[in-house]
């Protein structure tokens, strides 16, 4: 259940709001345990999927045909026209038709998003934090900090670049199929009913550790670094017990999706995106967290652009089908908001290596099951994929309007997810950014 005021009472929120945080920490010798008040998280779930390297959205959700007299923007346009699902247009490559035909109704496409950079790092920073300067958390970190700050896997990172701004700690996952052995290491893997060590031994060991943590907290002269690390240590230990919930919901290791290899020319690509999705959703299903970052690498196609993108987009479509099917099977599909984005876009022409270079205009795709705001497109680009300004109130094309940046998108998503209070509380507002009614079903950008 989503509890809007929950953050007010979370320890982290309290600490950040307090002047020094010292008194609260020093006076907090008790430890939370699973089941002593902290319920499995049942609220809104946020996933981001980073198409790493700069994805060409003219071959996805902002299709561009070639313009006479201009350099070719897409080879596919020699022989085909863009596909359409309602107002959403898509490039007729890879498996896009299946993707948009199934999910178009549940999807909001935001086109013409100006990342204002050709730098991968800055692009990722901007697209996932809403600011091109360091200091803001990723949208997932903020969601986790607001919705499930005390849950042991509040914010899971399977790929991409995560930034927390100190709001919350993230958990990085490697091989998801090995989670079982780590979710409860005190149980024998071959016989989970049996403990690896006498229970009395584990209890006494934990008592000693707990006492040492308490002793350390009683020292008022800890450095900020020590105090922070100590808090993390305490939180991590208190979250251990909660991980056993995940253990209960994990399938057998051979039920996890395997990674997939792709060969494009001489280049090899590997993706474990489906496994990432599976792991992230199992965490959510167990009620251990509320946000996760996923990633698909390989989009930086300075050479052999079309083949690389065709391969990766086909995989993307396949993975998104898997994502929603799996979410449905776990019974969490109706709680998920999935954001798909990238560093930026790719140039509106091919280079000499048949590749495309960096281009600051890109898109987002927002997906939610049964979304009333689905089937819409906000923002636009011209025939050469230059961003076009829109009216920030009506969302219609307006040359005197604004060009959408990631900041606009983030501000709208924050509001949609109910994160404004958290942002305000932590001084992380996007005050200088115009409000755009991204989720208003009655408005969109008509071409």
């Amino acid at each position: 259940m989503d509890r809007p005021n929950h953050h007010r009472f979370s320890r982290r929120g309290f600490l950040r709001a307090s002047a020094t945080g010292l008194g609260a920490l020093a006076a907090s010798p008790s430890f939370r345990v699973w089941g002593s008040g902290l319920e499995p998280y049942q609220g809104k779930l946020l996933f981001t999927l980073q198409l790493d390297g700069g994805a060409d959205v003219t071959q996805l959700c902002d299709p561009k045909v070639n313009t006479p007299g201009e350099r070719k923007i897409n080879h596919w346009a020699d022989n085909a026209d863009p596909g359409e699902w309602g107002y959403i247009r898509y490039a007729p490559v890879a498996d896009n038709a299946r993707l948009f035909n199934r999910f178009g109704a549940d999807m909001l496409v935001v086109n013409g998003v100006d990342a204002q950079t050709g730098s991968h790092e800055t692009g990722k920073l901007f697209n996932w934090t809403g600011s091109n300067a360091e200091g803001l958390p990723s949208i997932t970190a903020m969601h986790a900090a607001a919705k499930s700050p005390d849950h042991p896997l509040a914010y899971s990172v399977f790929g991409g670049s995560s930034r927390t701004a100190g709001l919350i700690t993230y958990n990085r996952f490697d091989d998801v199929s090995r989670l079982r052995e780590l979710t409860d290491p005190t149980r024998q893997p071959w016989n989970p009913q049996e403990s690896m060590r006498p229970e009395e031994e584990l209890v006494r060991s934990r008592q000693l550790v707990a006492q040492s943590i308490s002793d350390m907290f009683s020292n008022p002269d800890l450095t900020p670094r020590q105090r922070r690390a100590l808090s993390k240590h305490r939180d991590a230990r208190s979250g251990q017990e909660g991980l056993s919930l995940l253990a209960e919901s994990l399938p057998n290791s051979d039920s996890f999706q395997n990674g997939e290899n792709f060969n494009v020319g001489n280049w090899q690509f590997f993706s474990n995106l489906k496994q990432q999705m599976q792991g992230a959703m199992l965490v959510m299903k167990a009620g251990l967290g509320s946000a996760a970052d996923l990633s698909l690498d390989g989009f930086d196609s300075h050479e052999n652009h079309d083949d690389i993108h065709a391969e990766l987009y086909a995989h993307l479509s396949d993975a998104l089908h898997f994502f929603w099917d799996y979410a449905e099977s776990l019974g969490i599909a109706d709680r998920i908001l999935l954001l798909v984005g990238s560093d930026f876009g790719r140039t509106n022409m091919y280079n000499d290596g048949n590749g495309k270079d960096h281009w600051n205009i890109g898109s987002y795709m927002l997906m939610e099951q049964g979304a009333p705001w689905g089937g819409r497109v906000v923002g636009a680009t011209d025939e050469l994929h230059f961003a076009r300004a829109i009216n920030p109130t009506t969302l219609e094309l307006d040359s005197r309007g604004v060009v959408i940046t990631p900041a606009h998108v983030h501000k709208a998503i924050r509001s949609y997810l109910g994160l404004d209070a958290t942002a305000r509380l932590n001084g992380l507002d996007l005050n200088s950014t115009e409000d755009i009614p991204l989720f208003d079903p009655g408005k969109m950008t008509y071409l």
Partner: protein, 1209 residues
């Protein structure tokens, strides 16, 4: 240490007062002599002298001195010129000159402030600039802080140290009232550093993965200099090597090459020596060695893999070699050598000598020997050219034109460095340049660009990286450095291209190709080896003029036969296309028709050309073919084009094309394309002999072209080494390895929370970096000295902050300062090895299979490093430095596995060989007031099983309280199987037993307690193990009545106890014991262990002091901090309780979930591949935990390993 800012208002006022006075004088001088260099110099050398302090004192303060007394500040007098030279010019050199020089970005964008380069001239330029009518100090400061729009972003935010230096200089130089430096309120106020002992302990774990000896600790405590000396003494051995390699890899991410990055370096055909060596080896392991697994067998494929591994380690080993041998650190970019092991020694023809042969006479080899690297040069790489002959059928050799003389430039020229950042036709070494700047000059080019990028700029088609300011801001710096890598190909081969003259992309050298609307036409038949096709297309011409038609080949005309192809030889089929005729129609009327035989004489015809790399001659990339199919112009997978001048109208183009397929071509389609009016890409710029792109900037560095006489990569290395940013960049490079966090970045957005606090921390850190860098240079770039300085710094040693001095802002400012960071997987692994004598998952035996001992936290595959925040250098490149629940579980798993193993191993070893339990035996506990072992002999006159009985007394003293009198049968051979040697049938078992008839407790000769066996079963004092394993609870003994005697016997090797509460004092207890032997028992005695134990730690227990000492030693060793007496007693108390609980509940090495790898897996007994009888005896002894202390130690080890103090430094 002094803060790097002006500390007191009084100093500030003094400065301003001086300036005001001087301004009066200087103003007239300036008015009269503006622009005159001589008078300018005179002015600065004769007038303003000002009092400056704080940041100008570079002396290192004793970290023990926490005072911040202004009276102790040193004062330095500076002229403006001196101040500029010392504080401002380094900023100008490091930040401004990259744009603000003639011909660079700022110049091209019209900036008026351009620096000549040398300090004096720079100062004059700056001085003159700020005296222009429309500039001034505020204007300049506004620019550098980007408060006035600055094309280069915000190099120095208001309040940063650099900003303050400019501000102060302007005050000195022109008397500007700039507001002065921002006072930060005393960054180190209230902080204190840890003891020298603690610093040495932390440093020892970090640098060398060991625990410092007592003598080292004693010496270090005598003075700061002594501590520094001891720290310096830690920098040797495998631990230090690992520190360097891990630290360098964290930055360079070289390990990614072995973690999935597709490194397509050719280790086979480019290195004939290695090829020949590998081909001399068997391709498979001989079957006669199937059962031998001690060492890996070297096959030809293994040799190539080992060569690959050796080359992958080169940059890291080079850095380690430079540091470990005290060579100037600049060699990491200038060394004219690299590092080779036994395999790269062969491949490189380096002729280094190694102490041991890695490969034995039978063909087995030892990977542990491959970690030995020696300096050498790469003399084994060859070009691919017309002389190269590679025949896999003739393994004896292949032919080639000669060996390259590989230009060494430290890390920069290593294949692994270039392989980690591979290039492409269009990237052209820019990634290498970007990371060269980042790692060796501390410049993040990506972040140096202005934030907002104009869309139109990216759409610029006129070579924007050369001409468009939105691009040149980065590329102006980046591209010359990229050019300096000109000799190396995309994957790192020297002079990579065919012919061995250059590494230029083929797409550049053969640049011209058709553009526009390329059409694909499919050939559908595989039945015909050749086929004529006629292609037509309607076209509109809208304007009179040139119109192009071009025919191009299938971009991928060949298909590989995967079955017949090998790694060495490509086998497959190709398709070919040729043009027989081109025709143009208008309104059905033929306007033009050109047949193949006319092509070359028709000036409208063109075809791709090629250049003979051996002599520079060029020719047509096609030929006129005559065969059964007629005459046609074949083009070698390139293109043919025509240029027609047409008037507007509708036209029809017709092409007669021949496609031909090699016999067996497996595809049912091939492609040709033609385009209309697409034109061509730019004309090829390449000229024979070129080594770099003509549409890019000349190879060089910071406005200077690379000099002749050496390879440009070597020239670049030398420029980097002498660059003033190199020392600072070196400090930043090693910052995470030493301090456990990235060096701080300047905060960018003043509107975000904690901006000022972050800025304060950044400034302080920058000041320290500068100070460390200066010392580094003064120490002749000795990295060991740098590490020692870093570890001696307050940033490392701060261990506490007076809570009264903290506020929310300081919490942020100090958040990366001092001890307390989470250890990395590698650091935790090394610490565990140092403290407990073994790392998690460490294995004994068959070490020859591993380069270094693998552990659960370091092995590449199947380990836990990634789950514990580690990196693989490929997909995960940043460490997670905050502990999470999942990470906590990794350590939990480690502790579960390791704690009992360590207990076993420790008690298995003689005390002098132990790592941890140096002060106790497993029998040592805090409850045992007295213990004796009695051996009850067999009475030879007795023939029945009851054999012997007698009185045994034990004196003891107690603090009072519950006392348990315990008797345990510890007979080594309690039960023995008796079998008939002549029969394979199972015989029978005969056992020995201990018994007790009664007990008396006396004080001063007076009996205070007495009990007999007949009273046991009804007595509350009697206690015995109630064995639940037999289906129902059964006591592990029985009462025996015989011959008027009543005796309680224990089952073989079991125990019983009698509990009493006694007052403090001295006592004696007498046990009336009996023994029993089943018939035929071959042993003549039973052994009884008698103990008097308190049920709470008792000062009279002789083990108490030993245990306390052991706990204190363990705690201090493991956490680097001395425990309080209270902490020791708390641990001791818990141990004691748990030991008793273990006994009571029967928890031993085999029961109660106490599974321990050590009990059944002998691997953990290190370096003991053969066991003696004594070893087996000791192992059997370890199976008996009579007082529960083995379990108690396992519990304590577990708690230590999972504690905050252990997991953090």
């Amino acid at each position: 240490m002094q803060a790097p800012h002006f500390k007191t208002d009084i100093c500030r006022r003094l400065a301003l007062a001086s300036v005001i006075f001087l301004m009066f004088f200087a103003g007239s001088v300036l008015a009269q002599h503006h622009g005159s260099m001589n008078q300018f110099s005179s002015l600065f050398n004769s007038v303003q002298t000002i009092r400056a302090n704080g940041d100008t004192d570079k002396g290192q303060q004793d970290p023990d001195d926490n005072t911040d007394d202004p009276s102790e500040e040193t004062e330095t007098l500076y002229t403006a010129a001196e101040y500029y030279a010392e504080f401002v010019d380094p900023i100008v050199q490091g930040k401004c000159l990259v744009c603000h020089q003639s011909g660079l970005v700022a110049d091209s964008q019209g900036a008026r402030l351009l620096f000549p380069g040398d300090s004096d001239s720079n100062q004059q330029a700056l001085y003159e600039f700020v005296n222009l009518p429309d500039t001034g100090a505020d204007w300049l400061l506004g620019k550098i802080s980007n408060e006035i729009s600055h094309g280069g972003g915000r190099p120095s935010p208001n309040g940063s140290t650099d900003y303050n230096h400019f501000s102060e200089y302007l005050t000195l130089a022109i008397g500007a009232n700039t507001g002065g430096p921002v006072k930060d309120g005393g960054f180190w106020d209230g902080t204190a550093v840890e003891s020298r002992e603690t610093t040495l302990r932390r440093a020892a774990f970090l640098l060398s993965g060991r625990v410092p000896s007592e003598s080292m600790l004693e010496r270090a405590q005598t003075s700061e200099e002594a501590l520094r000396t001891e720290i310096r003494g830690l920098m040797n051995g495998d631990g230090f090597h690992d520190f360097i390699v891990n630290g360098a890899n964290d930055r360079l991410l070289i390990s990614g090459l072995n973690a999935g990055i597709d490194w397509q370096f050719d280790f086979w055909s480019r290195f004939p020596n290695m090829y020949q060596y590998a081909m001399s080896l068997p391709s498979e392991r001989p079957p006669q060695y199937d059962d031998y697994h001690q060492k890996p067998f070297l096959t030809s494929r293994d040799a190539e893999q080992e060569f690959r591994f050796a080359v992958s380690q080169e940059p890291l080993e080079l850095i380690a070699y430079v540091i470990e041998n005290g060579r100037p650190y600049t060699e990491i970019v200038t060394a004219d050598y690299t590092l080779v092991n036994a395999f790269s020694n062969i491949g490189y023809r380096a002729y280094a000598s190694f102490d041991k042969e890695a490969v034995d006479s039978q063909g087995f080899y030892d990977r542990t020997l491959l970690t030995e690297y020696k300096p050498g040069q790469n003399k084994g790489h060859i070009p691919h050219d017309d002389d190269t002959y590679f025949d896999d059928e003739q393994p004896s050799y292949f032919d080639f034109s000669g060996y390259h003389d590989w230009p060494h430039a430290g890390v920069l020229s290593t294949p692994a460095w270039m392989g980690r950042y591979p290039s492409t036709d269009t990237n052209r070494n820019r990634a290498r340049a970007r990371w060269t700047y980042f790692h060796f000059l501390g410049v993040d080019i990506e972040k140096s660009a202005p934030r907002s990028t104009d869309q139109a700029a990216l759409a610029d088609k006129n070579n924007p990286t050369m001409n468009n300011s939105a691009c040149t801001v980065c590329h102006e710096r980046m591209d010359p450095v990229a050019g300096a890598y000109q000799s190396f190909g995309d994957q790192g081969h020297y002079l990579d291209q065919w012919g061995g003259k250059d590494s230029l992309a083929d797409s550049y050298k053969r640049k011209e190709k058709p553009m526009g609307e390329l059409q694909t036409l499919t050939r559908n038949s595989i039945l015909e080896p050749w086929r004529w096709q006629k292609f037509t297309r309607q076209f509109d011409v809208t304007a009179t003029g040139s119109n192009h038609v071009s025919l191009s080949a299938d971009p991928e005309p060949c298909v590989q036969d995967e079955e017949r192809s090998t790694d060495e030889e490509w086998v497959g089929w190709c398709s070919h296309s040729a043009l027989q005729r081109v025709a143009i129609y208008r309104n059905g009327v033929l306007l033009e028709s050109i047949s193949a035989s006319q092509f070359e004489s028709d000036d409208r015809f063109s075809i791709a050309t090629w250049i003979d790399q051996s002599n520079g001659n060029s020719g047509l990339d096609g030929h006129l073919g005559h065969d059964d199919q007629g005459e046609a112009m074949y083009h070698f997978s390139r293109w043919i084009a025509f240029d027609f001048s047409l008037v507007p109208g509708e036209y029809m183009l017709e092409l007669d094309v021949l496609t031909r397929l090699d016999e067996g071509f497996p595809s049912d389609s091939t492609y040709v394309g033609f385009s209309w009016n697409g034109g061509f890409s730019e004309e090829a710029l390449y000229q024979y002999g070129d080594t770099w792109y003509r549409d890019m900037r000349t190879p060089g560095f910071e406005g200077k072209d690379a000099a002749e006489g050496m390879d440009s990569i070597q020239w670049l290395g030398r420029r980097i080494a002498e660059d003033p940013r190199f020392p600072d960049a070196t400090v930043k490079f090693w910052w995470p390895a030493v301090f456990g966090d990235e060096a701080l970045e300047v905060p960018e957005n003043p509107n975000l929370p904690n901006y000022q606090a972050k800025l304060t921390a950044y400034n302080e850190q920058q000041a320290l970096i500068t100070e460390l860098a200066d010392r580094f240079v003064a120490n002749n770039y000795n990295a060991k000295e740098l590490f020692a300085d870093m570890l001696m710094s307050r940033w490392y040693r701060t261990s506490s902050v007076d809570a009264r001095t903290l506020n929310a802002e300081r919490e942020v400012a100090l958040e990366t300062v001092g001890s307390g960071r989470l250890l990395t997987p590698e650091e935790l692994d090394r610490k565990t090895k140092a403290v407990f004598g073994r790392a998690w998952g460490e294995r004994a035996g068959e070490q020859a299979h591993y380069y270094r001992p693998t552990t659960n936290l370091t092995q590449d595959w199947g380990g836990y490093s990634a789950f514990y925040g580690g990196i693989d250098g490929a997909t995960v490149t940043k460490r997670n430095r905050d502990l999470t629940a999942l990470m906590s579980n990794v350590v939990e798993k480690m502790a579960i596995d390791l704690s009992c193993q360590v207990v076993q191993e420790e008690f298995f070893k003689p005390r002098q060989e132990r790592s941890v339990l140096k002060y106790v035996e497993k029998s040592t506990d805090a409850l045992t007031l007295a213990d004796e072992t009695f051996v009850l002999d067999r009475n030879p006159e007795e023939t029945e099983w009851r054999q012997f009985h007698g009185e045994y007394s034990v004196p003891f003293r107690t603090d009072g309280g519950g006392i348990a009198f315990t008797l345990r049968d510890t007979s080594p051979e309690g039960c023995v199987d008796i079998t008939d040697e002549n029969s394979d049938q199972y015989g029978y078992q005969t056992c020995s037993h201990i018994g007790i008839e009664g007990l008396e407790i006396r004080q001063n000769g007076i009996v205070v307690e007495r009990i007999t066996a007949s009273e046991f079963s009804s007595s509350e004092h009697f206690r015995i193990w109630l064995d639940p394993s037999r289906g129902h609870v059964m006591p592990s003994g029985w009462l025996h009545r015989d011959r008027d005697e009543t005796i309680w016997f224990a089952h073989t090797n079991e125990w019983f106890a009698l509990d009493y509460v006694l007052k403090p004092g001295s006592y004696e207890v007498s046990f009336y014991l009996a023994s029993g032997m089943d018939p035929d028992h071959p042993v003549n005695d039973v052994t009884v262990e008698a103990k008097v134990m308190s049920n709470a730690p008792d000062s009279n227990a002789r083990g108490s002091r030993q245990l306390a000492r052991q706990i204190e030693h363990l705690y201090e060793t493991a956490t680097t901090k001395k425990p309080s007496e209270q902490q020791v007693q708390a641990i001791l108390g818990s141990m004691t309780e748990y030991a008793a609980e273990s006994q009571t509940k029967g928890i031993n090495s085999h029961s109660g979930g106490a599974h321990c790898d050590g009990w059944w897996n002998l691997d953990f007994y290190q370096n003991r591949e053969e066991f003696t009888d004594e070893d087996w005896r000791r192992i059997e002894e370890l199976e008996i935990d009579s007082n529960g202390m083995m379990r108690a130690w396992a519990m304590v080890f577990h708690s230590i390993m999972t504690s905050h103090a252990y997991m953090h430094d």
